[in-house]
Symmetry: C5
Subunit: 371 residues, 5 copies
C-alpha cells in the first residue's frame, strides 16, 4: 500500500503530487490490460484467506499457492477469498484466472491509485473502494485501496496489507446465527463496504480534533510563524479524505440500482443505510472545509489586528515624543539672543509644558483605546 505520508513530513502531499497520476507506472502507450503493481511492497508474500460458508458450515484456510483447489465448495455454499498483498502479480493473476476476471479488472486491482468506482461485468460486479486510516507514526490520514469482486456465490476482496479493518467481519462470520451466514454473497460485500465506511468516521473524528486544536491555538493568541503551514496541511488532509469519500457515494448508489441483478432487494435496504453514512461523511468533510476556510479568515484577521496593534504602539510613542524632542531641540539651539534661556523659571516651565503635553496625548490615546 502506498503511504500517503510525505517523506518531508507533510501528510498526503506525495500522494497528491507524485503518485496520483502515475496511472500505472507503465510507460505511456503500454498495452491496456497489462498488470503493473504501483504500490510499496509491505509484506513478504501475498496470502489468500478462503472462507467457504453456508448457514450451517464454515471452513477457513490460508492459501499461498493459487494452484490449490479453492473452489471445492458444495452447491449452496458461498466463498469469500480475501487476498492480502498485491505486489505478486502472478498470484493475483492466478486468482483472476480461477474466477475468470476481465484483464481490465486485474489491471485495476494491482494499480492501487484507482478512483472508487463500480463496474458491472454481468457475471460479477467489480467495486473499487478507498478505506481510510490514521497512520500511527505520523498521525496523518492515509487511504488504502480495497477492491471487491461480487459474484453470484463468491466475494473476492483485495487489499495491499493487513490493516485489521476486516477482522470484525471474520468474527461475525463465526456466529452461525449472524446475518452474514444466513444471507447471500451480496450481504457479505455490503458488510465489507460497511466496515470501510465505518472507518471514515473515526478518521474524521481525529481530523476534527486537529481542527479544534488549531482553532484553540488561534483563539488563545498569536500563533507562531508555522501556523499557516499547519493550516495548509490540515486543508490538504481534508482534501485527501474528500477525494476518497466523494466517489464512494456513487459506488454505493450504483450498487442499489435495479440493473445490478447480483444485489438482492433486502440487501439494498442495508446498502441504502451505508449510502446514508457516506452522505453524512461527505457533509462532515464539507463542513470541515468550510471551518478551515473560516479559520484561515480568522487567522488573517488576527494578523491584521496584530499589525494594527503594533502600528498603534509605534504611532503613540512617536506622536508623544517627536514633538517633545522638537521642543527640546529648540532650546538646544545656540543662538546668542534667546531671552528665554536666561529666565529663572524657563526650564521648569518647559518641562511642565512637555509633561502636560505628554499627559494630554496619553489621555487622548487612552480615550481612542490605543493602549
Amino acid at each position: 500500500m502506498k503511504k500517503f505520508i510525505d517523506l518531508r513530513g507533510k501528510p498526503g502531499s506525495e500522494w497528491f503530487l507524485g503518485n496520483m497520476f502515475r496511472k500505472s507506472g507503465k510507460s505511456a502507450g503500454a498495452t491496456p490490460g497489462d498488470m503493473v503493481f504501483v504500490g510499496e511492497r509491505k509484506i513478504e508474500a501475498p496470502v489468500a484467506t478462503v472462507a467457504v460458508y453456508n448457514e450451517t458450515e464454515l471452513s477457513v484456510k490460508s492459501v499461498k499457492d493459487m494452484d490449490e483447489d479453492i473452489l471445492s465448495a458444495s452447491g449452496s455454499a458461498r466463498t469469500w477469498v480475501n487476498v492480502v498483498g498485491l505486489h505478486d502479480i502472478a498470484f493475483v493473476s492466478g486468482v483472476g484466472k480461477k474466477f475468470n476476471l476481465h484483464p481490465l479488472v486485474l489491471e485495476d486491482i494491482v494499480n492501487t491509485n484507482q478512483r472508487p468506482k463500480i463496474v458491472d461485468y454481468g457475471d460479477y460486479v467489480f467495486i473499487v473502494a478507498k478505506s481510510l486510516r490514521v497512520d500511527g507514526a505520523s498521525g496523518a490520514s492515509c487511504a488504502e485501496q480495497v477492491c471487491i469482486v461480487l459474484g453470484d456465490s463468491f466475494v473476492l476482496s483485495f487489499v495491499e496489507n493487513e490493516s485489521g479493518a476486516l477482522d470484525p467481519i471474520r468474527e461475525r462470520m463465526k456466529n452461525p446465527e449472524g446475518r452474514i451466514r444466513k444471507r447471500g454473497a451480496d450481504y457479505l460485500a455490503y458488510a465489507i463496504l460497511d466496515a470501510v465506511v465505518d472507518q471514515y468516521f473515526s478518521v474524521l473524528e481525529i481530523i476534527g480534533e486537529k481542527i479544534e486544536a488549531v482553532e484553540e491555538t488561534l483563539e488563545a493568541g498569536f500563533s507562531g510563524s508555522r501556523f499557516h503551514i499547519t493550516l495548509r496541511d490540515l486543508r490538504r488532509e481534508t482534501l485527501l479524505v474528500r477525494r476518497a469519500v466523494w466517489p464512494m457515494r456513487d459506488v454505493l448508489g450504483g450498487l442499489q440500482k435495479s440493473e445490478i441483478k447480483l444485489v438482492g432487494e433486502s440487501t439494498g435496504m442495508y446498502l441504502r443505510d451505508a449510502h446514508d453514512h457516506v452522505v453524512q461523511t461527505i457533509e462532515t468533510v464539507e463542513i470541515y472545509r468550510e471551518m478551515l476556510s473560516s479559520i484561515n479568515d480568522l487567522y488573517q484577521t488576527a494578523v491584521s489586528n496584530r499589525m494594527s496593534e503594533i502600528m498603534k504602539v509605534l504611532t503613540a510613542i512617536a506622536t508623544i515624543f517627536i514633538p517633545l524632542t522638537f521642543v527640546a531641540g529648540v532650546y538646544g539651539m545656540n543662538f546668542k539672543y534667546m531671552p528665554e534661556l536666561e529666565w529663572r523659571w524657563s526650564y521648569p516651565a518647559v518641562m511642565a509644558f512637555m509633561g502636560a503635553a505628554a499627559v494630554y496625548m496619553v489621555v487622548y490615546f487612552k480615550l481612542k483605546k490605543w493602549f
Copy 2:
C-alpha cells in the same frame, strides 16, 4: 438529547467537531442493525404516551412498560405512540417489536446523530427530522432529532426529551371537530412535521436579531478584539441550522411523491405547504450566510480603514516635526563660525519660519483630509 452548546461557550462546535461523525458510538465494524444510544441521558425513565383516536373517541394513556397492550384499538381508530427518552434501548426495542420495525430503523432511532431522511419500508414510512430550539441558558441554537414512523393506522414519534414542541398537537387532538381527528394517520404525521418546521422560524428570528446586533455594533464604530470570534460563532450557528434544515426539503419533497401510498392526496396539499415553509427557511439561512459574509467584509474594511487612520496620524506628526527638529538640530551645532547665531533676530526668524512651515503642513493635510 445531545446538547449542541460547546462547554467552552462556543455554540455548536462540540457537535460539529466531536460528535457528528461518531456514527453510532459502536466500534467500527460492528454489526449493522445493533442499537447503540449515543446521546446524553436527560430524563429518568422513558415514557410512551399512547393516544388512540377516531372522529368520535379519544383515549390517552402513559405507558412505561411495553408489555402492556397498547394496540387494543378498534378497527377505524388511529394510534399515536409518542416515545420520550431513548437511552433505554430495551424500551425502544419493545416498541419496535410491537410494530414490527426493521432493525435499521431502530438503530437510526436511538442514534441521534442522523441526517434528516425518509425511507419507505412498504408497510410504513420512516422519517428522521431535526427540530431546532434555542437553549435558554446559553442562547445558542441546538438541534434535536425527531423520528416518525408512519403506518397505515398508526404514527410513532420518538424524541429524546420533552421540549413542548408537540404540545399544541395534543391540544388540537382534543377538539373532535379538528382536522387531526377527522383525517388519517398521514395527517397526524404531517402535523408533527409542521410543528417541527414552525420552530425553525422562531430560531431563525433569534439568529436574525443576533446578526442585527452584530451589525449595529460594527456600524457604531470599532468593535473590540473579540468581534471576529463572535462573528465566527454566528457563522457556525448558521452552519448548524443549515445542516439541519437543508435535508428537510428532500424529506418533505419525498413524502409527496406518488410512490408513497401511505400519504393521501389531500394530505399532499398540506405537505406541499410545509415544503414551501422549509424552502423559505433555507432561503433565509442562505441570506443570513450572505449577510454574515458581507459583515465580515465590512469588518475587514473597518480594520483597514482604522489602520489607515492610524498611519495618517503618524505620518502627519512625523512629517510636521521631523523637519522642524532637523532645523533645531542645525542651530544646535557647535561650529565656531555660524554667523546666524550671532544675529539679533535669528531666533525669532527661525521660530517664525518653523511655525509657518508647521501651519503650511497642517493646512496641507487638512486639504488632503488627513485629520
Copy 3:
C-alpha cells in the same frame, strides 16, 4: 403592506432580519390553514373591485360587503375581483368562501411574507407574485405581495394596498377592441403578471443609477468613511430584489406547463414573453451583484493604494530628514577635541553636504515615483 425600509434608514434590513421568518405571526404549532394577517394595516377598510366583462359588455363596481352578489354574471362573462387591503380577515375569508378556495390558499393570501410560487388546485391555479416599487420617501426598493387566483371564468387578485400597478389594466379593459376583452381569464391573469414584471425594470433602473453614482464617487477620489456602509446597503437592496425576482421565473415557467389546463395555448405565447422578461431581470440583477462586488474590490484597492501613498510620504520625509538630523546631532556634541568645529568653512560645508544629500534623496524618490 409591510414596509421594507428599515427604521434606522437602511433599506430592507428589517424585512430580512425581523420579518421574513415570522411565517404567519401565529405561535409555532398553530393549526395549518388558520388565517393570520402579518403586514401593516395601511388602509381603512378593504375594498373589492368587481369587473364583469365579455367582448361586448363591461360592468365595474366596488364591493365592501362580501354578502353582495358578486357572481351575477351571465354565462360567457369573465369576472375579475381585485381585493385591496388584507387586514380584514373576515372579508378575505368571505371572498374565499364565494369562490370555494382551499384554507391554505387563504392562509397564504393574508400572510404577506410568502415566496413567489404557483400551486395548481385543479379547479383553479393559485399564484403568489412579488411586485417591486421604489418607496418615494426613502428611495429604497420594497416588495409587495400580489396573489392571483385563476379560475375557469374568473380571476381574483389580492394586494395589500393600492399602488397603481394595476391601473393600466383597468384602462385597457375599457377598450372593447383590446385583447383583454376578447380573450379568456387566463389572458387577464397574464396581464396582471406582466404588469408586475414590468415594474421590475423601473426598480432595476433606479438601482442601476445608484450603482453608477457610487461608482462615480469612487472614481472621483476617496470616498469617506460611510462609503462601505452605502455599498453594503446597495448590496442588500440587490439581494432583496433578487429574492423577489428569482422564484418568479419558476412561477411563469410553471404556468406554461401543459399540465395546467386553465391556461390556453395562445396565452402561453404571451407567458413565454413575460418569462423572457423575468430572465432578463434576473440577468440584470446578477450583473448588478457582480458590479457591486467589483466596486467593492475597487474600493479595497483604493484604500490599499491610499495607504501606500501615505506610507510613501512618511518614508520619504523620514528618509530625508532622519540622516540629516543625525549629522546635525553629531556637530551638536560637546567634545572638547572636535577639530572641524574650529574650521572656518565647516558650517557651510556641512550645510552644503546636507543640502546635496537632500537633493539626491528627492531626485531618487522622484525617479522611483514616490511623489
Copy 4:
C-alpha cells in the same frame, strides 16, 4: 443601434447601468405586443434589401416602401429580406404584416435590448441574436441586435444599422455554385448566424490583446493609479461580451432540435459546427474572466509587495539613524561632569563606533535582503 460606449469613456457601462432594463421604453403596464423603438436612430430611412434566388436565378432590389410587391417570387425561389434601420415602426410593421408575424415578434424586433433567444411559432422560427463589433473610435466592444425570422421559403433579417457583417453572405450568394444558392432558407439563416458568430472571434482577439497589454504593463513594474480602473473596464467589457455570447449557445442548440421542422438535417450538421464555435467562444470568455481575476490578484500582490518595499526602506533608515542620533544626542548634553567630553580621542572613538554600528546594520539588512 444603442451605442455601448459610455459617454464618460468607459466601455459598455451605459448599456449595463442605464439601458438594459428599459425593457421597451414604454411605461410599465402598457399593452404587450405594442412596438416601441428603444435604440438610437442612426440612419435616415430604413431600407429593405430583397433578394429572391434559386439555384439558377438571383434578383436583388432595394425597397423603401413596404407596399411594393416583395413577394413576387416563383414557386421554388427563396426570399431574403434584410431590413436595415428599425426606428421606423411603420416600416417594420409593414414587413410584419406581409409575412404575417405575431405582434410579440414585432415588439421584440424593434426593442433592441433583447436577450438572444429562439421561439418556434410553427410557421416560422424567430431568432434573436447579438452580433459584436469593436467600435472604431473608442476601441470598446459593442453589441448589436440581429433578428432573424426563418420561414419555409423566406428569411427575414433585421439589424439597426449597416455594419457590413452580412456583406460576405451577399457576395457568396452571387456565386450560383455556392451552397447558399443550392440549399434552402434554413441554410441562409445558418449562414447569417455563422457570420454573426464569426465576428465574436475577432472581438475576442482584440480583448485578448488588451488583456495581454495590461498584463505586460503590470509585469514591467508599477502601473499607476488608473490601473485598477483600466482593469475594471476590461472586466466589464468581458462581462458584456459574455452576456451576449452565453445565450447564443441555447439559440444554436435549440435550432438543432428535431421539434423544429423548418431546419433540415443537412443544415443541422452546419448548425452543430456553429454551435461548437459558440462553445469555443464561451470557453475563451470564461478563460478571459479567470485571467482578469488572476491579473487583479497579481496587482494586489504587487501593491502589497511595493508597500513592503517602502516599509523596508523606512525601517532600514530609521533603524540605522535613530540609535546613532541618540548617541549624538547623549554627547550633546550639557552636564558639567561628563569626563569623556574632555578626553582627547573621544570624538574619533565615538565616530568610529557609530560608523561600525552603521556598517553592521547595513550588512545585517543586506543579509536579510532588505535592500
Copy 5:
C-alpha cells in the same frame, strides 16, 4: 503544430491570448467548409503512413502522394492511415476525398485550434482530441491536436508533427497475437485515444513537480519578487491543461453511447477504462488548481507576516530610542538655570536611567515576542 510556449517565455499565453479565437484564420464571413491551415509548418512535406492489417497479415507503407492506391486492402482487412503534417491542404483534402469525408470534417482537421469533440456522421465518427506533451526546451506544457476518423474498417488519424505518441501502437501492431490485430477498427481508435490520455499523466506529473518545487521555495522562506509571476505561470499552465482535458471526458463518454454503431460492446469496456483515466486526470487538475490557490493564499500570508516582522523591528527600535533621544535632548537644552546640569552624579544617573529604560523595553518586547 502551433507552439503553446509564448515567445516572451511565458507558457501558453500566446495560445490563450492570441490564437484560440482565430477560429480558422479566414476572414469573418468566409464560406463554412473552406479549409484553412492555422498552425505552424513544422515538417517539410506531409507523410501518410498506411497500415493494412488483419489477424494474419500486416503491410505498412509510406505514401507521399494521395493518388496512390491506399485502399487496396482485401475484405477482412482494416486500414490505418496516419497523416503527419497538415499544412498541405491539398494532401489532406486528397485523403478526405478518398474516404468521402464531409467538408466540415476537413475544415476541422486542418484548423488545429479545435475543442475536443465527437461528431457522428453515420458512416464514420469524427473525433477531435488534444494530446499534451512537455516542450523540451522551455519545460512548458503544450497541446497538440489529434484528429481521428473511425470508419467501419478504417481509422484515419491526423497529427501536425511526429511526436512519438503513436509509436507504441505501431510496435504493438507488429505482434500478431496482440489485441489490436485481433479486434476491429474501433479498438485501434481506442488504442490511439488511450495513448493520448496516457500522456496526460506524465504531463501532470511534471506540473506536479513544479508545484511541489514552488511550495518548497515558499516554505523555505521569502521567495523573491518574481514569485507571484512564477505562480501565475503555473496557474495558467494548469488552465491550459484543464482546457484540453475537460472536453475529453465528453468525447470518451460519447463514444460509449449505444447510438454509435461503429463501436462494439467489447471495446466499450476499454473505452470506459480510458474514460476513468480522463476523470482521474480531471480530478488531479482540479486538485492542482486548489493547491495553487492555497499556495497563493500562503504567499499572501507570508507577505503579510513579513510586513508584520518589519513593522515590529521598526516599532521596537523607534520605541526604545525615540524616548531616550528626547531625554538626551532635554539635557542638551541651553537654559541657564538647570540645576541638574551642575550636579556631580547627574550624568551617570541619567545614563543609568536610560540604560534601565532600554533594558525594560527590550524585555517587554521579548515577552511580547517581537524579536
